[in-house]
Symmetry: C2
Subunit: 268 residues, 2 copies
C-alpha cells in the first residue's frame, strides 16, 4: 500500500523518513480490519503536529478536505482527528470517521483545524471543545477553521476583533461572537486562517500548506489531488442561483439557523 | 442535530420524509459513540440507493467529496459505504472511515461510485471488488468513479471502448484496461461518469446529482457546500507547475506507478 507521501520528489524525503513512512503504512494495513484504540499522544517524529477538531454532527468534508491536502503536502506532518469522545465521529451526513485521540488525552498542537457543522450549536455548547480551544488555541502556531468551525474559535474568545469568515448562512452568528466579519472565501489575519463553507477548507489548506512548508509543497499537493475545479454550474453562493431558488434557500437556512440555535432538533 | 437535508426548501420534502429524516438523525445520535455493526441491506425508503465502493488504501477525499455532494443534494437518497471487509476502512492518508456494509452482504445499487487510491493495484487484485462490480455494475442506473476508481471499473470489463478519465498519473493504466482514454476532468458516456484525480469527484457528483434529481437540486447542493473554488495557485495539473517542479512530479509518479504495479510496497 502506498501513501501519496511516498511519491513526493526526492529532496524533502530523507531515507529515515522513507523508512518511517513504510512502517506507518505497514501499521495501517494491520489495523485495517479493526478499530484501534485512540492514540493518546502524537506519533513520534519532528513534523508539524496538526490537530483536526471534530465532533458529533460535524460536516465530514470540512475535515477531510484539509486533511487530504495537508497529508499530501508534507510527508512528515503528524495528523490527529481529535474529538471530545473516542470512537467514531458520526457526521451530519451520517458518515462515520475515526477519532484518533480524545481532546482530554491530547496536549496542544502546532496547527489546529476546526471543522464545522450544519448545526454547530451542540458543539458550541460542549464545553470540552471550547475549553480545549481556549487552553491550546493561543499556543498554536496556526489556528484555522472551516465553515462554522470559526464559531467555535470565536466562542472560545479567539477571534475577538479578528477578521474571519464562515458559511454564508452563519455570518450573523460569527459576528455576534466578536469576530470582525469578512465575506471572503479564505481570510488570513496573522496566524489565524478561516474558511467559508465546507468546500472552502481545501482552499484554506493550500494557503496553510504554503505557510507551513512553502509554496512548492502546496502546489505539488494541489497537482496530486488534481485540484483544477470545474463545477458544472455557477452556483457556489445563493446569489448565483436563479433568484427564486436563491431566495428560497436563504429563507430555509434562516429558519434552520434560528431553530437550531434554540435547540430544536433537525431544524424542523 | 441537524442534517443538511433538514433545511432543503419545501416542495421536495414531504411530511413523511421529514419524519423519516428525524428518525435517522435520532438514530445517528444514539450510534455516535459506538461502532455499529455493518448494515447488511439498504435502509428503508424509496430514494436512490448509492453505493460508495471503498477499500484499504483508498484516497479518502475520493469518497467523501461525492458523498457530501450527493447526501446534501437529496434527502431521500440512501447511501452505503461498501467494502470487501467490515469495520474501518484505512485510507491512504491514514484516516479511518466506517464501512457500513460489506460487498458480500449487499445486493446491487442504483448508483455505484468507485473511489480510487494512490496505489490502486491491491484493490485491483482483490477479486471481491472486481467480481462485485462485474455482477452489479451492468445493472446500475449510473456507474461512476473518482480518480483511479475507473481502473477498477475497467478491470471489471465495464469500460471496454468507453470514453473515460482518471488521475493524470494513471492514464496509461486506464487505457491498458480497454477504456477509450479521455483527459477531460469529468467524462459522461451514457450512464457511465468518470472523474479525474481526487478533487474531481465533487465536480462529477454535481453532474450526477443533476442527472438524478435535476439541475436545481445540484445547484442547491453546490451553494450549500459553498463550492465556488478559489485555489490560491494555478497548480491543478503538472503542466501548470513551474517546469522543473512539474517534470520532477511526473517523473516521481512514473516511478511510483511502475513500482506499485509490481507490488512493491509503498512505491519505494
Amino acid at each position: 500500500m502506498a501513501e501519496f507521501d511516498g511519491f513526493l520528489p526526492g529532496p524533502r524525503l530523507s531515507r529515515r523518513l522513507l523508512l518511517r513512512s513504510t512502517a506507518v503504512a505497514a501499521g495501517a494495513l494491520t489495523l485495517a480490519a479493526t478499530v484501534p484504540a485512540p492514540r493518546s499522544s502524537w506519533p513520534d517524529g519532528e513534523g508539524v503536529r496538526i490537530a483536526f477538531l471534530g465532533f458529533t454532527g460535524m460536516t465530514v468534508l470540512d475535515l477531510v478536505g484539509p486533511w487530504q491536502v495537508l497529508r499530501i503536502a508534507d510527508g512528515t506532518a503528524r495528523l490527529h482527528v481529535l474529538a471530545a469522545d473516542s470512537g467514531l465521529i458520526r457526521s451530519d451526513s451520517a458518515m462515520g470517521v475515526e477519532a484518533t485521540a480524545t481532546l482530554a488525552g491530547t496536549p496542544g498542537a502546532d496547527v489546529i483545524v476546526v471543522a464545522g457543522a450544519a448545526n454547530p450549536f451542540p458543539a458550541l455548547r460542549d464545553r470540552r471543545n471550547i475549553d480545549w480551544l481556549r487552553e491550546h488555541g493561543p499556543k498554536a502556531r496556526y489556528l484555522t477553521s472551516v465553515c462554522t468551525g470559526s464559531l467555535l474559535l470565536a466562542e472560545a474568545g479567539l477571534l475577538n476583533g479578528v477578521p474571519a469568515t464562515t458559511h454564508w448562512a452563519f455570518r450573523e452568528e460569527l459576528a455576534a461572537r466578536g469576530a470582525h466579519l469578512s465575506t471572503e472565501r479564505v481570510v488570513r489575519h496573522g496566524n489565524v486562517i478561516t474558511a467559508a463553507g465546507v468546500s472552502a477548507g481545501m482552499d484554506m489548506a493550500l494557503h496553510l500548506a504554503a505557510a507551513l512548508w512553502g509554496q512548492e509543497a502546496a502546489m505539488r499537493a494541489q497537482a496530486l489531488i488534481e485540484y483544477a475545479p470545474e463545477p458544472p454550474f455557477a452556483a457556489g453562493h445563493p446569489e448565483q442561483l436563479p433568484p427564486a431558488l436563491g431566495a428560497a434557500l436563504r429563507e430555509s437556512m434562516r429558519t434552520h439557523v434560528a431553530k437550531a440555535r434554540h435547540g430544536q432538533p433537525h431544524g424542523l
